[in-house]
């Protein structure tokens, strides 16, 4: 069943409110999961479970939040920054994320800012409407 972006947006926000115990006015499109909404590593798994249930889809491990496995590879990380190859790889793994800002300075410390509410909505939109 096709869903509009608004419908998906609303359901994703409800999911995040439940998983992270935040209020609806905090879950803005641009809010970062870790910085703004206080998500910790275990919350990402919780969010994936809840999204699977809410949308009746299967979210393969490391597809929505794939950054972790990349960080342990020296070809992709150099002096605390992603290398060109690392950035390309991350971009191909996360087509649902907007890299415009991050690309200017791919500092690992700024990676948490990549995970925003609207990137989840885009991911789900691609997934639901491709099915």
């Amino acid at each position: 069943m096709a869903m509009t972006r608004d419908q998906i947006n609303e359901k994703v926000k409800e999911t995040l409110m439940d998983a992270l115990g935040v209020d609806d006015d905090e879950v803005t499109d641009d809010a970062t999961l870790m910085g703004d909404l206080g998500a910790e590593s275990i919350d990402f798994l919780d969010i994936v479970f809840r999204l699977e249930k809410a949308f009746g889809i299967k979210i393969p491990r490391e597809e929505l939040f794939p950054a972790e496995n990349l960080l342990n590879d020296s070809a992709y990380v150099d002096h605390g920054k992603l290398t060109g190859a690392g950035l390309e790889r991350l971009k191909s793994q996360m087509p649902h994320v907007d890299f415009t800002e991050f690309e200017k300075d791919p500092d690992l410390n700024k990676m948490p800012d990549l995970f925003r509410v609207n990137s989840i909505v885009t991911y789900i939109e691609n997934k639901v409407n491709a099915a």
């Binding site: 275990i42 919350d43 798994l45 919780d46 479970f49 491990r61 972790e68 342990n72």
Partner: protein
């Protein structure tokens, strides 16, 4: 031996649900301080009782091969106090289990009344944190005493 905070299981459906009992007794010392003259079980210990009920349900579902740790208390709401003399009925239902983690929803009843609702998330720790390994000895299910205890009950079954 690990600290065991539930008295017994009264129902156990592998991979689905478990019901355990915890009797609240003034013989337990913490009640003397919480609070003097008005004893009741702290919410943290109600959560612990649910975590043990649910943790064993989750562990058993994978043959006690995983290191199961409590990763998140997603919800804990209480509607009444658990006081000395009460018998708590803790029911945990397994909502989701995957190679990495499990989610359970639980209720606590006493005097035929719902007194608490708790949702917990458990992590299979070896499957998370980028494959980092953890020592065996810190984990309840890999503790020989715990498994032997279970076996001794199994052996006594009619």
């Amino acid at each position: 031996m690990r600290w065991i905070w539930i008295d017994k299981f009264v129902e156990f459906e592998s991979g689905k649900r478990a019901v355990a009992i915890k009797n609240v007794s003034l013989a337990e010392e913490y009640l003397h301080d919480h609070y003097p003259g008005y004893p009741f079980m702290p919410a943290s210990l109600l959560i612990e009782a649910m975590a043990q009920t649910a943790g064993i349900l989750v562990g058993q579902a994978r043959g006690f091969q995983e290191k199961v740790i409590l990763a998140k208390v997603s919800r804990a709401q209480f509607y009444d106090l658990a006081r000395p003399g009460d018998q708590l009925i803790l029911e945990a239902r397994l909502e989701t289990i995957t190679p990495e983690a499990a989610i359970i929803c639980g209720t606590i009843r006493c005097r035929e009344k719902l007194i608490g609702q708790i949702s917990l998330m458990f992590s299979h720790i070896d499957k998370n944190l980028a494959g980092q390994e953890f020592p065996q000895e810190n984990f309840v299910f890999n503790n020989e005493q715990f498994i032997n205890l279970l076996r001794s009950y199994e052996a006594e079954k009619p």
